[in-house]
Subunit: 157 residues, 3 copies
């Protein structure tokens, strides 16, 4: 059965905005980039939906269009969180659905207070997700912070 | 409809001992501190229940009352595990329900044997959960070890 | 009721090849080593199945028989991925079921390109799982890379 052209075009549009199966045999839905998320350049995806859970890949404070690191430490950390939340949003999860945040920084004494400040801006008076802040000796492109986020957002049935 | 005072007091008691919803819209239950767990001071929670899974935030070997790091390397590592297990217990998960442990230490050669010893004390002859031990250059407050734990404890229906 | 000897022997054979319960009270199934996986020597297991999810412990590029690190950086990284996938396979999960990969390397500038190359060999043109690559100051046995993998592979009903 042929599908009309407008249906194919519609499918193509949605294909860039909705999670797609990792393979015909897998139940994993890889999250495709949207006009709110960054676009990965290498051998990784921004995230995946697995049943009721959403896993987001390591996010940094890069501009979604230029791919460059945002200027200013606080703005960089804020963008890191926004990039993570945009990827989660693309799979139907919000900041209230976060169940694990792991933040990797190159100087824990210097950047932990900044992470706290930005989280207070985003989550207000809480509740806040469980979190771990860790120091690492270096990040990709000499960046200062990177975040891993896991979310729980059951699919409405 | 007014609720009698003793019902409100009862509700207040339970509110500190049972997971609460992260928000009206979210299915995540944030784990509230109990008289067995530490109490977070900042923008994070000790853990969250998400369906059948329990995610515990980064735990270190701090005293639950004073917030200070416990004296002695082995006692510190032991307390780290106990703090994690107390938080998991508050959401109905036990040591046998652990599915991923990630242990971050500031000296892998020095502290890995200590982690092994303490785990043998706690889990006996096993089986042991999957685990990763990683060296990091520094931890919060100059501590020596921190742990992330994930548990699977289906809610009884 | 006595079980005949051959049934006991058969049970023993299967016991080394199939996930076993972490305890009588837990729903977690610890993954037992197979003739494709490494065999842990210490207080940890290669992985666990928790409902529809499979969590694999930290894997490095070691030979499954000798336990020694494989020679050559690329071969080492390749073996690391193969060891992780063999453990996942023992619980019924494949590379298309990966939902989170965290790769820890001792030099991000040097080993990230190698990780990319090996992932391209394994996952072809994708889609690729969400991933985070992090630099750490040291790994067990002075190794160069270690990986944590999480998979989603619903049990067929």
């Amino acid at each position: 059965m042929n599908r009309p052209l407008h249906a194919l075009l519609l499918a193509a549009v949605f294909a860039t905005a909705m999670p797609v199966a990792a393979s015909a045999e897998s139940a994993v839905k890889i999250i495709a980039p949207t006009d709110k998320t960054i676009t990965p350049s290498g051998t990784w995806s921004i995230g995946a939906r697995a049943g009721d859970f959403v896993f987001i890949g390591g996010m940094r404070g890069t501009d979604r269009v230029t791919g460059k690191m945002v200027d200013g430490d606080e703005a960089r950390v804020r963008r890191m969180f926004d990039n993570m939340l945009a990827a989660a949003e693309a799979a139907g999860a919000t900041k209230a659905d976060a169940v694990r945040l792991t933040v990797f920084v190159t100087d824990v004494a210097k950047y932990r207070p900044l992470v706290n400040k930005v989280q207070k801006d985003i989550w207000g008076d809480g509740p806040y997700p469980p979190r771990t802040v860790l120091q690492v000796p270096a990040l990709d492109q000499g960046d200062i912070a990177e975040i891993d986020g896991t979310f729980y957002a059951p699919v409405k049935k």
